[in-house]
């Protein structure tokens, strides 16, 4: 499988968050990366169970860019960065190598939703 991470929005703030070691982190760079489908499924089930912490946990595909995770879809890149219209808003305002890696790919993608499991695999 391609690498994946788990994302959601925090219940209280609405912020984009990523799964890491049983909890949630703000930065994609700190997300737990899965390359094993059964480990991903198990973590996703746990993540989905945290209903007073997050809303709508799901897995997304990523690629590796110089050691940094970058979502394959532009929708998920925009979630990981912030609006492309207000570069001082959202996670991109913090800058750093992870943000630069994602931003370098901001223009094009391979799939719009990037959300795994929407199309049921046989």
């Amino acid at each position: 499988m391609t690498e994946a991470v788990i994302t959601a929005n925090s219940l209280l703030e609405g912020d984009v968050v990523f799964w890491a070691g049983g909890g949630w982190v703000e930065a994609l760079a700190d997300a737990e990366r899965f390359d094993d489908a059964s480990a991903l499924d198990a973590a996703l089930q746990t993540a989905k169970g945290q209903v007073t912490t997050v809303v709508d946990a799901y897995a997304i595909d990523i690629i590796d860019e110089r050691g940094q995770p970058v979502p394959t879809s532009y929708r998920e890149r925009i979630r990981a960065l912030g609006p492309t219209t207000h570069l001082d808003h959202g996670k991109q305002a913090l800058g750093g190598p992870s943000i630069e890696a994602i931003a370098a790919h901001a223009g094009a993608g391979v799939r719009s939703s990037g959300r795994l499991g929407l199309i049921r695999r046989k």
Binding site: N9, L11, E13, G14, I78, P83, T84, T85
Partner: protein, 552 residues
């Protein structure tokens, strides 16, 4: 303008308290997200890509200066210092925290604002002509009837769970600034031959994935029967509308499948059965509402302002502003001033908290303390003395809001698109910015004349692309943002749905293609023709040839 009474005030306070309890129960885990989501949506709170978004209702687009100041406060205190005015004449805050939402609703309620009827399958916030009560074109003031609809429809128990959302627009003038024909119900005020006030009732218009223009089911409904007739329409829709498929649940699908005539007959039959007198607005209540809207003390002024004419002669930018942004008022010596939220480079419809405060001050100083929101995502000061226009223009210039481009190519409607919206397939705002940049020179935009460009980031069509002279729809083509262009749409009194130009274009080709379309228009146009007129005369082919020449 209309003042909420004690009942309204108590209702808003109760609603905010109720929502505070619902949020607490959600945070404690007592309510699941599945249970909570419809409750938060009924209070205008969406979860978007980056945060919660709160959509605040601006009933029929009318705001007092104090209400606008409160919106500025909320933008500053709870958001990132700005808000976004929408094509439904509401305002959206993009960076809201769930925990803050109850405090925000409390704060809104203090000034008679709320988020009721901004989401869910209910009768949504009614929209009306932003020139209401100010234009000489109108038969009657649409705010009076919109307020009646607000009172009737708010928390209406029978119409809170319709098959799908339901939007009503009211225009008092033949010149339609409300896009009435693409609403579930469009109401146009008119007078019969014997002088009786009434409505032309148009039903089944809408955009989205299956666009239709509304069809007239009643040429003349006596105005006093408005609420009972609306009840009959809603009841017919509630009974016959589809609930099995959300894509086919809007009234437009029902009207199209039955035919407008058969639908109209069903409504008339329902209406005949109703106890109309128990639903229709009593004359006394109508008079009370009407009196509240007749509160501007106009002065006797000369029809021509010597001061303004002198200032225009000295300042070409003021002259341009008056040409493009100031419309005729029904009272001599007054004008209707449009404030464009479309400065090239800025986000269409965005307004900062500082700008909101400044506009509120300008409205108090020069505009009877009243502001209107337009479906084109601009603002209007409806009652400005012509003698004050130069000072107002100077005040707007100071806050970057003196752009003289109303209905020109840079006055673009754009939805938030994929930069914010969880439903979007593609971005809309950057496309609007790229196009507007090409018409940033005001002389260029003015030489092209009226050209309404409307952009939606998905098929739901919040950006009204179907009725753009040039419509632009963002689509997802194999994981890339592509844009489908349509030509010849109109949301005005000459309403029409646009025709697809050809295969979708990549993002970087959209703005150059708009240039090419404009070049064809400039080449083909006859004197006095707008882009839309030329398109309707010459058809799609010359435009298509220009944009797709390289590809052929």
């Amino acid at each position: 303008m209309y003042r909420y009474d004690a009942i309204d005030a108590a209702l808003l306070a109760d609603r905010a308290t109720e929502f505070r309890g619902q949020v607490a129960r959600r945070l404690s885990g007592e309510l699941s997200e599945d249970h909570f989501k419809p409750l938060r949506l009924m209070n205008g709170l969406y979860l978007q890509l980056h945060a919660y978004m709160l959509r605040v209702a601006i009933p029929y687009g009318v705001l007092s200066a104090d209400q606008l100041r409160r919106l500025a406060f909320i933008a500053r205190r709870f958001d990132k210092g700005f808000g976004h005015f929408t094509t439904r004449t509401n305002i959206q805050f993009n960076w809201i925290k769930l925990a803050d939402a109850p405090d925000i609703l409390d704060s809104l309620a203090e000034v008679g604002l709320h988020a009721i009827q901004t989401s869910g399958n209910c009768i949504r916030n009614t929209t009306a002509d932003p020139y209401a009560g100010a234009t000489a074109e109108e038969i009657d003031d649409p705010r009076v009837w919109s307020e009646a609809i607000r009172q009737w429809s708010t928390f209406h128990p029978e119409f809170t769970y319709l098959p799908r959302k339901f939007k009503i627009a009211v225009t008092g003038a033949a010149k339609d600034r409300t896009a009435a024909k693409v609403h579930d119900i469009g109401l146009k005020l008119r007078r019969s031959r014997d002088g009786e006030l009434g409505f032309e009732v148009m039903v089944g218009g809408g955009m989205g994935r299956t666009p239709y223009l509304g069809q007239t089911i009643r040429e003349h409904l006596p105005a006093r029967h408005l609420l009972s007739y609306l009840t009959a329409i809603l009841r017919t829709y509630n009974r016959l509308g589809r609930r099995d498929n959300s894509y086919k649940a809007r009234i437009k699908i029902l009207v199209a499948s039955l035919g407008a005539e058969a639908f109209g007959r069903a409504v008339e039959a329902e209406w005949a059965e109703l106890d109309q007198a128990s639903i229709d607005l009593p004359d006394l209540e109508l008079a009370r509402i009407r009196a509240d809207f007749n509160d501007v003390a106009f002065q006797d002024l000369a029809p021509v302002s010597v001061a303004l004419n002198a200032a225009k002669a000295a300042d070409p930018s003021l002259a341009r502003f008056v040409r493009n942004n100031v419309a005729a008022h029904k009272v001599a010596g007054y004008g209707i001033v449009n404030i464009s939220l479309k400065a090239p480079g800025d986000v269409p419809g965005d307004c900062t908290a500082d700008q909101m405060d400044a506009i509120a001050d300008l409205a108090d100083a020069y505009g009877a303390g009243e502001i209107r929101v337009t479906h084109a995502q601009n603002l209007v000061l409806p009652h400005v003395k012509l003698d004050d226009v130069a000072a107002l223009h100077a005040g707007l210039k100071e806050i970057g809001l003196a752009t003289a481009n109303i209905d020109l190519a840079s006055d673009i409607i754009a939805c938030p698109g994929l930069d914010f919206c969880a439903l979007a397939n593609a971005r809309a705002i950057p496309i609007a910015q790229a196009i507007a940049a090409r018409f940033a020179d005001p002389a260029t935009a003015e030489s092209v004349g009226e050209l309404k460009i409307k952009i939606s980031g998905c098929i739901n069509a919040c950006g009204h692309h179907h009725v753009g002279h040039i419509g632009i729809l963002g689509v997802d083509k194999k994981g890339e943002e592509y844009y489908q262009l349509t030509l010849g749409g109109s949301g005005a009194e000459d309403a029409s749905l646009g025709d697809v130009l050809g295969p979708a274009l990549s993002a970087d080709r959209v703005a150059p293609s708009v240039d090419q379309l404009v070049d064809v228009y400039l080449r083909e146009r006859s004197p006095g023709e707008r882009f839309l007129d030329t398109y309707r005369r010459v058809g799609l082919n010359p435009f298509k040839a220009a944009v797709y020449a390289e590809a052929v």
